[in-house]
Subunit: 227 residues, 2 copies
DNA sequence: AATTATTTTTAGGCCAATCTAAAAATATAT
DNA sequence: ATATATTTTTAGATTGGCCTAAAAATAATT
């Protein structure tokens, strides 16, 4: 990963790359100027400005009025940023005992630290984690993501015991709410009842039962528990 | 420390503060524009520019043509930067197994991460170290440095067993040279002979003997070994 | 197809941080 | 004390990253 992307970018440039990566990882289609502006909380004019510069540096393919797609270089660079972000989040939670709702902001800063050696040693120190504290996959040094079969909690069958493996929403409010519901990664759940009226569900959480609103349930990733 | 210095500075501003702190910690006298320019590897004109801005922010007292001294706020801010820098160096060496000559550059980046909570947790994680991998004192959260009686190796008496506690020079070349000489923090030494011709000395290093040039010896801090 | 709405780009300006060259202040030497 | 050298500041320009307002391109409606 590193050999292909050895160039010093500004923090701003890195953040643009990351934003574009995030916006294109779903459908893999070209990303619009406005979408980037929304993601970066900035004006469309500033985005156009930056797209020209990043295009100049061959980090993305930019066609006027047609949006952008990351180049191979740009893709590798962003993947590495994601890798660093998630590894630092693991560090903060596992080693410094931060809660999962506190780490994102700090990782946003730490991800810009530039030292391949540091990242790899951190990775080793953390025992090569495959997922971050929110269940998101950590790309390996050569940019590969671990795939995992998962479903949204609302879409899983009745009575099947499942394991919470991730969250689709990362806001502090949501994460703290899950804490209050005793729902965390690795937690075993089982849907006991569905209520059509508001799409809420009743689940078994460990040894007690719990009502979960549809708004919460649709942001929880689970996998079928093979035990 | 934190209450008094809660303001977001740019990395550049932080680096200027640190440079001024370093230049004034010896004699505590006003620091000249040129000295700062030299330290920061920039032009005197740029320095004057920045001094005005830092003065505006009440981080230092600036009198035209007379140099600057840090204000209380500026002092606390720089001390906190030093604290972060040195704590991260301990982390890199103790936890990630970096060598002492590899950590400075990375710590130069990490010291700018802004999160009081992170620093304090890191401090706890490292068991509140009092000195960094080069033997430099780590200021406490309220800005106090641990004092230590120490002497330069060249100035210690014959036949007195001493302990290496720090280095006065931090270059990679010097640190790696010490590695080759088997000299590290905590190492016991004893001056066996002084040679007037080139001021070199013969020392006992652990169980063997070693010649040490004056250039090396004058950059090693030791303390009298009370064992 | 023509009009209207939306998206995107351009134009022009601002601010922080840098530079070089010239002017001004201070220090040193004769 | 005067001349010379050094240090420091000012002046003016540049670059990255941002802004608003206006123009241009594209998309959606009628
Ligand atoms: Mn995050
Ligand atoms: Mn995460
Ligand atoms: Mn250092
Ligand atoms: Mn150090």
């Amino acid at each position: 990963m590193y050999n292909a992307c050895r160039m010093k970018l500004s923090i701003t440039e890195e953040n643009y790359l990351k934003a574009i990566f995030k916006l294109s990882e779903r459908d893999n289609k070209a990303v619009s100027t406005n979408a980037i502006a929304r993601q970066m909380q900035t004006s469309a004019a500033s985005v156009t400005d930056m797209l020209k510069r990043l295009s100049e540096k061959k980090l993305l393919k930019y066609t006027k009025y047609k949006g952008v797609t990351l180049s191979e270089k740009g893709g590798k660079l962003s993947t590495n940023l994601v890798r660093k972000h998630r590894l630092w989040e693991v560090f903060l939670v596992d080693k410094l005992n931060f809660r999962w709702d506190e780490v994102h902001e700090i990782a946003e800063q730490l991800e810009h630290i530039d030292s391949p050696d540091l990242v790899n040693r951190l990775d080793a120190f953390l025992n090569h984690p495959k997922f971050d504290p929110h269940g998101d996959p950590i790309p390996s040094a050569d940019g590969k993501f671990t795939l995992r079969s998962q479903q949204i909690l609302t879409e899983v069958d009745h009575k099947l015991p499942v394991l919470v493996v991730g969250v689709r929403e990362h806001s502090v409010a949501f994460l703290r709410h899950l804490d209050e519901l005793d729902i965390h990664l690795g937690q075993q759940l089982e849907i006991l009842e569905r209520y059509d009226y508001d799409d809420s569900i009743r689940v078994r959480v460990g040894d007690h039962q719990q009502m979960i609103s549809s708004k919460v349930a649709r942001n929880i990733f689970v996998k079928i528990n093979p035990s």
